[in-house]
């Protein structure tokens, strides 16, 4: 039996949970190795060897060490192409290009405002950091504009890249989970008919439910 792959970082980290969702979708066994961020473990030399920017996650299997959650996900989909959800990263070049397009849209347009809101509304209070109301308002406006575009797209297609659930949709799960379940900004998603329908569908997947359970248990 293959050795489980290793993922370093806390499951409550959005980037870590992105990788975990992908591993569950692909039925790849993993070992989650805890990194105590409140004690600065992610900034220590031993961890910096795995991730030179001192951020989570880091990933290791028997042949390679990687970082950056979206790169790790692409690697998992490529290496384990025949396992689990075979269409997660497309089964032909055109499908893959469409998925990459929406994965880039997530990384470039959705992630910046949504992760700022997640930090301000879900994490800052826990860390006794003062919330910045101007930053919250600006990023809510930016995210709203992005979600208006998603609303139109999801009226034309069931999922972002087409008819099938893909890595592009998966990549949105972590930030959206926090915003919908852990802040008062969930209405940004639920008040938009197509976005709301899409969120219900992607967050009901078994793979994501397993990640949420891990987050609750940690």
């Amino acid at each position: 039996m293959a050795t489980p792959v290793k993922v370093y970082g806390p499951p409550m980290s959005t980037a870590v949970s992105r990788v975990l969702a992908c591993l569950y979708e692909k039925n790849v066994e993993f070992e989650l190795i805890s990194i105590n961020m409140s004690k600065g473990e992610h900034k220590k030399p031993e961890f910096l060897k795995l991730q030179p920017f001192g951020q989570v996650p880091a990933f290791e299997d028997e042949s390679i060490s990687l970082f950056e959650s979206r790169a790790i996900c692409r690697y998992i989909c490529d290496k384990y192409a025949d396992k689990g959800n075979k269409g997660l990263y497309g089964t032909n070049p055109l499908a893959k290009a469409s998925i990459d397009q929406w994965l880039e849209a997530e990384g470039q347009s959705f992630n910046p405002p949504s992760s700022t809101l997640v930090f301000q509304l879900a994490f800052a209070p826990r860390m006794n950091i003062k919330q910045d109301k101007v930053v919250i308002r600006q990023n809510e406006e930016k995210l709203s504009k992005v979600l208006d575009i998603y609303e139109k797209r999801l009226g034309e297609a069931r999922f972002l890249a087409g008819d099938e659930f893909s890595l592009a949709d998966l990549s949105h799960l972590p930030n959206t989970q926090y915003l919908v379940s852990g802040t008062d900004k969930g209405n940004l998603f639920t008040s938009r008919e197509n976005v709301g329908r899409w969120w219900d569908e992607i967050s009901s997947r078994d793979s994501w439910k397993k990640v949420v359970d891990l987050q609750k248990g940690a």
């Binding site: 950056e68 979206r70 990384g107 797209r153």
Partner: protein, 215 residues
Amino acid sequence: MAAIKAHGSLISTATNRVLVTLYEKELEFEFVSVDMSTGEHKKDHFLSLNPFGQVPALEHGDLKLFESRAITKYVAYEYANKGTQLIHQDSKKMAITLVWMEVEAQQYDPVASKLTWELGLKPMLGMVTDKAIVEENEAKLAKVLDVYENRLAHSKYLGGDCFTLADLHHLPTLQYLLGTQSQKLFDSRPHVSAWVADITARPAWLKVQAMRNKH
């Protein structure tokens, strides 16, 4: 087969990212200029190519693509047998390249783009540079480039031994920042400096510069 059409603006870093890739792959293409000063990128015709109303967009027959890094990847894979090899067929080597492509997109570009806007584009458009933003982002860029310096001390290019998309994606913002006060951040790091000199001298990149000088 229909011609490749690259829609965009020659001052746009993202557009240049696509153009240099097309030149590296020695592909014939038509450049379709999008007049952003008249809001052409927000009009229905362009929104059908890129619903975010941003440049660039690529058209090839029935295929329409947006997001420069998705376009470059598609082109690099689709034309793997033509021109410069910009990706790896070996999955381990490609995984490392993918890591550094994400580093560019997530660590380097947010900071470099802000500096490009303040120091490169604003002066061109007759707007005033915000010194506080410049200072804040130069400090952030310095930290990113410290990681790059360490990486490039052990690896000729970011993704490994060969020039790939991981290096190419940096070219447009790099070009803007050279010749501004931020150049010192690159010059003061010997491996980064050598890498910058190497990649900005590539013939394909010089062809993109020539396009800008003509228009």
